[in-house]
Symmetry: C2
């Protein structure tokens, strides 16, 4: 059967959504890229690869939504930890609110 359309659709659906999820994953404290990939992988329908997350994290930093610092690890190469800036926290709050509005809107379509 032709799953091409569906597969592409799910990819499109992740656009923007991934950013929100990543910010929410960082929010409680701090997190590094490889860790976030593993956490989000467990959420059905939200698979994410390294080639996807690193550009996103870079953009977050460029936009001033997060701060980052390297930290040595005994289990491998150094990890780049990220945490939300004030701007990032504010924006995430707004994004979460927008998300809920949309979810509600879609529900009673």
């Amino acid at each position: 059967m032709d799953e091409r359309f569906y597969d592409n659709w799910t990819t499109q659906l992740r656009k923007g959504l991934l950013e929100m999820c990543i910010l929410n994953a960082i929010r409680p404290g701090r997190a590094y890229g490889y860790e976030i990939v593993r956490r989000l992988r467990q959420i059905e329908g939200l698979v994410i690869g390294e080639g996807t997350i690193y550009p996103i994290l870079s953009r977050f930093h460029r936009e001033g939504l997060v701060e980052s610092h390297l930290e040595e690890s005994s289990e491998g190469p150094a990890r780049k930890y990220y945490e939300l800036s004030d701007r990032g926290k504010k924006l995430l709050k707004k994004m979460n609110a927008t998300w809920e509005t949309i979810v509600r809107g879609v529900q009673n379509l």
Copy 2:
């Protein structure tokens, strides 16, 4: 303040989501482009323009998700009505299920 990131994010968030909403708007029976634009406009966070919907409807048709036919109107130019094909109905069901899975996944993040 800098709303650029937020505005762009909402645009990205609409990707894929609009397709699902349009299909759901057509599902009960039939609908034409201009009509769908007006209906979806009322849903907060889901604004859509004509330059967005017509390419989507064309793609639906190209992918065999909908059938279409022209119908004269006394209120203006002819309308192009769309209705879901069997394939479209099946796919929409799958899309709605995926959407709910993702919404639930995001909820308990």
